[in-house]
Symmetry: C4
Subunit: 255 residues, 4 copies
């Protein structure tokens, strides 16, 4: 079995931008992406299955089994259409991360994606009263483009590495000539502890960046709705964290 | 080497239903499937070999070596023919689980399978006086179909995830448009401890579901006959359990 | 990179029998195979390289680097020609074991091999004064064929599983219709401790089986000559043992 | 995703020699290769990406994300052109090491490479006042060729194995008929501690071997310039070391 993307609806998108938010530190990316999907009433149009995910089904609605998967949603915007990639899990092996990200990029390249925004949390290791949004880009020119959005581009907060999909998608996209930016909300960084505050900050920056009008007041409500699923996949994410580099510094950013 | 299915006999089956019972918690699935094969005098028609199994041979009959394998049996039923998938082992790697299950589904799809029933044990972590049969389905409509069989569809017993073949077969089958139901007999859940009582309950539910007349009184006898093989593969299953997610909750269901 | 066999000399062999002796418990198989190669002045005609071996070169003759490999030798016999497979290492991953063994069988099938004899040690866990040779076969009929050679076919010594090439080669060969027998010399079974006594017994049985006249008195001398190489690959075999199933019983036989 | 080499400039090279220096013990190979690139003002003409590297991006220049990669540089020499292979990382899995090295050899074979020089450190486990350069070759005849350069070919310092790219490149190159030599500078061998003294000795031997005039006095300066990158990839190399054989002797040479 290979990583496969099952297309549910053939879509034509105008200058689409990929926004990725998968489970990771503080669940920041996943929660932010989930809010976007819900608030913009985005439509699911493709699903990604992979042998690099844990070999299990999740039971939802009491008794309905569902293989782990990621999902693609789309939204028709003014200037740019938006694709959101979110889901239950990331790959559990290093090779798997590369494989899944390349499959996502193949798919998005065909849809015309030229810009990728990845969302995640940045583990501070301590409680952060006023979380900032830290940015990393694939090209220095993008710092100018996004300089007015209040994102901290490494001046105050040096990031060493970005592990997982949020890093690889922009890094591998760059090789294909795509622009990439990763937005990381500062968070305590205890594994599996969802941080709505950091997600809120990331969503604010993203809304400005994509010129989206969104009511961010429903975030807590949406997180509550996602809670059951988040709880069920907790163990899955724990497993993923276990497989990745162990040193304290290494897990500062996984998204 | 790839996972391969060696066909021993070309068969034409009428509306066949796949019943899977492989080693797992309480050996419930494997013992139940083994009873079915023995009681219905089913005929072996295919064997599955995989590089994702442990690299060893089992010695049976004192000195005869046999590579680990799974086996397909068939039975000519009234309305539906039945295929049973059982065997020595499950895959020892996450990717392997996906690979083996996809190969099984490819094979069964060609044989015309449209419904899959997987059998296993559900680890309660305590002794269960009156084990129930817990069910998970791929589609809510199936709860109605099987609602009269006394299966608990999650109302009293919430299942989080189903790890391994019993989960993946129905989950991946669903993507291909197959219906799937997983029957789990409540059991203590000590690894490698065969539980005939849970197997009995699962077989009762299965017999009703498939409209089969079976004498379930010989179960203890059959288990005794299987004992030598069960003992020899104990270490193999221990190894598989070691490879899978470690947290206590995670191993509640592996089948 | 795939597992590849580099042919040094194209040979035509008459009813060839494959004899395998690779590093394992007591180094019994490897030492016995090495003795055969030396005593019969066998000629190397092929080499096997694999990405499933450890990623390193051994330095021999003070400063000459050599990638880990297995080697094929041939001997022109009276009734049957003999192929010996020996080498530095076995695979370090479960999937690798299957891959390497399948490649060996593909190669040998083309050369006309219909019978496989694998050699190894059987770990008793205690010092054995008079080591027996224990046998496992792929078909009961072979017990009759080899019944007169003083091999113990499981009556006194029950073997549960045979891990690694000695098991898989005969097990996977059986699926292709090849006959297989595994000869295991009883040994203490401390990892990495070469046991000449067990190797001697295995060679005696093998000589009778293949109708070979061999002077077995030079065994100690040959082992001394092999010592440097054995020492250099000790760490490699330790690594392999670490990767395989851990329980005490499991490592009773790896060859 | 496969290991891929992205060619930035099509080059025609005259009798090119491959010089490899990747991260490893004492960072000797990487630092020496980096010095060569800087001092000879070599030009980058290809990049290697691989799913066998850690799944992450490094952030450099405060906020610019870059996928882990290796790089090829070239220099137009008098008799021989020189290709340098250096980079952020080596493979993190055994199979990956083989895969990456084979891809490098495929690429270099097409460019006409017939000789490979790999650079690294040899862990002494104690402080070395006057580090020697230890050599390993793929063919005894090469000892004569390089005998006058003051390299110790194992007489005083027996090397058991060479783990990783420095070993595999010459070992696998030998199978393709390429000559190979590995130069190892004696060093303390604490993981992740860069040793300029050992790198200096290796560079001296290399300069003589390749008939290069180089000012080696800027080595400390160059190392300082490389420091930021070295620090960021420290964790990555730690991870690689963790994946490789554990025993003290085994990590004597990884390069």
């Amino acid at each position: 079995m290979e990583t496969t993307i099952k297309v549910l609806e053939k879509v034509k998108l105008r200058k689409p931008i990929l926004v990725e938010g998968l489970p990771g530190i503080g669940n920041v990316g996943r929660v932010a992406a989930g809010y976007l999907v819900s608030e913009l009433k985005m439509k699911r149009f493709a699903e990604l299955y992979s042998p690099h995910f844990l070999p299990l089904v999740i039971i939802h609605d009491d008794s309905v089994a569902q293989v782990l998967r990621c999902e693609f949603y789309y939204y028709k915007g003014k200037e740019n259409d938006i694709i959101v990639l979110t889901g239950d899990t990331q790959s559990i092996s290093p090779e798997g991360h590369y494989d899944v990200c390349e499959k996502v990029l193949d798919f998005c390249e065909k849809l015309g994606v030229k810009r990728i925004v990845t969302l995640g949390g940045f583990a501070e290791g301590k409680i952060v009263e006023e979380p900032k949004v830290i940015g990393a880009v694939t090209d220095k020119k993008l710092i100018k483009t996004y300089g007015h959005l209040g994102i901290d581009f490494g001046k105050q907060q040096p990031v060493g590495t970005i592990v997982g999909a949020s890093g690889l998608l922009i890094g591998l996209g760059k090789i294909r000539g795509m622009d990439g930016i990763c937005l990381m909300g500062e968070t305590l960084g205890l594994p599996l502890l969802t941080d709505p505050k950091a997600a809120d900050k990331v969503l604010q920056a993203l809304a400005k960046m994509l010129n989206l009008r969104m009511d961010l007041n429903k975030l807590e409500k949406i997180i509550k709705e996602m809670e059951e699923k988040i709880k069920k996949t907790e163990k899955i994410h724990k497993k993923i964290l276990e497989e990745l580099p162990k040193s304290k510094e290494d897990i500062k950013y996984i998204g």
